[in-house]
């Protein structure tokens, strides 16, 4: 099964580091890097009707369309074929609790992200079938 990977974050250095780690973790060799939620939603609309699933690393605090708005939109569209991992610098427990209320969120990771964190994700129940 194919899993398309996208990183949505307004921080280009994070894109750079995340791309390296995703490659090292053998999750994705060429993730799609987007800088805010609006760009992602455009990309997502081209993906959602395909049979392929998506893994999204989503930041919360971004200009224009932020991570919360993206989650709301995915929830409204009843998105099924997407797994969302929140990647944020927020250590506010309220953010974690709120994020966990969205059914498509499979993990909440606080930056900085390390390789073991990504390996843990890769071996999670939701994603194991894609990395057999």
């Amino acid at each position: 099964m194919k899993l398309n990977t996208a990183i949505v974050d307004d921080d280009k250095i994070f894109h750079f580091l995340m791309a390296i780690m995703l490659k090292e973790a053998q999750i994705s060799s060429k993730p799609v890097c987007l800088q805010e939620g609006g760009q992602f939603l455009q990309w997502w609309r081209t993906q959602k009707n395909t049979s392929e699933n998506s893994l999204l690393f989503l930041d919360l605090n971004m200009p224009f369309v932020d991570g919360w708005q993206v989650l709301d939109e995915l929830k409204n569209e009843n998105a099924k074929n997407i797994f969302v991992v929140i990647i944020t610098s927020s250590i506010d427990p309220k953010d974690r609790k709120r994020a966990e209320s969205y059914p498509m969120v499979i993990d909440f990771m606080v930056k900085p992200i390390h390789l073991p964190d990504l390996l843990k994700i890769k071996h999670s129940t939701s994603l194991t079938p894609y990395f057999l």
Binding site: D11, I13, F14, F16, L17, I20, L60, N61, T88, S89, S90, I91, D92, D95, V110, K111, P112, I113, H114
Partner: protein, 338 residues
């Protein structure tokens, strides 16, 4: 003789302190005084009988000398009973008083006329109203200290009454005689007037209590927030008026505003620490890990140092912005001393 005795006994046993004064060319001589008056003066009838009134009581420390010495002018002038109103006196009422025991009396002067219509006697009655005056003063003081007062609209006569507490809030003198028209000037706008009377009308129709927060302008031009709580008065199902209390809540609202501002500041600080500060900090931490790994592999990309430098500068800028917003120029957090 029997008749004179009866009147004398009647006068003597009257509880209200009374003294009968004969009007002479020289002034006012004491003819008789009842037990209540003698107790008030702590003197016997022999001490005062035949004596000039002002020689017995040369001064009243609580009213001006002129007012005191001209106490009988009004009754002499009008030749009918005169109410002097409430006056402050000391107990005992004599020249040996310590001036410490203060009492309040409502004083009446009643003239006794001869056949020619001239005043020959004046009966001076003093009704002790000390308790009532003290209660009124306490009530007024409490209204002032907590900045509240009472109001009453008489819907039958279209009149309005305001307590001293409300007058104090409105910064008008106690002598201010309000009416429905004149009180409209205290509202900030026509809309406020309408909104108040709408609330009153609804309360009358629903026969319920109402609460209304109004922005007013006092007679001295100061803006205040007034919380009005009122209820209609019904007599046999007919509304005769609306009465209630008014409380100046300006300070409370200002305090709440300040607390809300501080709350917003704290929310901003929490947000800033969680998102704005941690964003470059987390990036620096990630870069350091990455640099260490590359160093061990002997393949450091020079642009990683630029990224590290950029992140450190961003962190510094974020910290400066937080300081500016909270205690700097924008001063979201204001010290209580300010």
């Amino acid at each position: 003789m029997e008749r004179a005795f009866e009147y004398s006994q009647f006068f003597k046993s009257m509880r209200c302190p009374s003294v009968i004064l004969k009007v002479t060319e020289h002034g006012f001589d004491v003819v008789n005084a009842n037990d209540g008056y003698l107790a008030l003066c702590a003197l016997s009838l022999n001490d005062i009988k035949g004596k000039n009134f002002f020689s017995l009581f040369p001064i009243n420390p609580y009213i001006s000398e002129d007012d005191w010495l001209n106490s009988f002018d009004s009754v002499l002038d009008q030749k009918t009973e005169v109410n002097l109103g409430v006056r402050k006196l000391v107990y005992p009422l004599n020249k040996d008083t310590t001036f410490l025991d203060v009492r309040y009396y409502e004083i009446h002067h009643t003239p006794i006329l001869d056949d020619q219509g001239e005043i020959i006697y004046i009966i001076r009655n003093l009704t002790n109203v000390t308790q009532r005056v003290i209660l009124e003063e306490l009530y007024t003081d409490s209204q002032k200290s907590v900045q509240y007062g009472n109001w009453w609209i008489n819907t039958q006569h279209q009149t309005i009454e305001l307590s001293s507490g409300v007058k104090d809030i409105l910064e008008v003198p106690d002598s201010f005689k309000p009416d429905l028209q004149s009180t409209k000037r205290f509202y900030c706008s026509e809309e406020e007037v309408r909104s108040f009377y709408d609330a009153v009308n609804r309360a009358v129709i629903d026969k319920k209590m109402f609460k209304k927060l109004l922005r007013i302008v006092t007679a001295k031009g100061n803006k205040r927030w007034l919380l009005l709580i009122g209820q209609p008065d019904f007599v046999e199902g007919i509304c005769i008026g609306v009465r209630g209390v008014a409380k100046d809540v300006s300070e409370k609202l200002a305090y709440m505003d300040k607390v809300e501002n501080q709350h917003n500041s704290l929310k901003y600080i929490a947000f800033a620490q969680s998102h704005l500060v941690r964003a470059p900090l987390a990036r620096i931490l990630a870069l350091v890990v990455h640099l260490k790994q590359r160093f061990n592999e002997g393949s450091i990309e020079p642009q990683l140092f630029d990224a590290l430098n950029h992140s450190a500068q961003e962190l510094d800028a974020v910290i400066h912005e937080i300081i500016n917003k909270t205690v700097g120029e924008k001063r979201l957090i204001v010290d209580d001393k300010d």
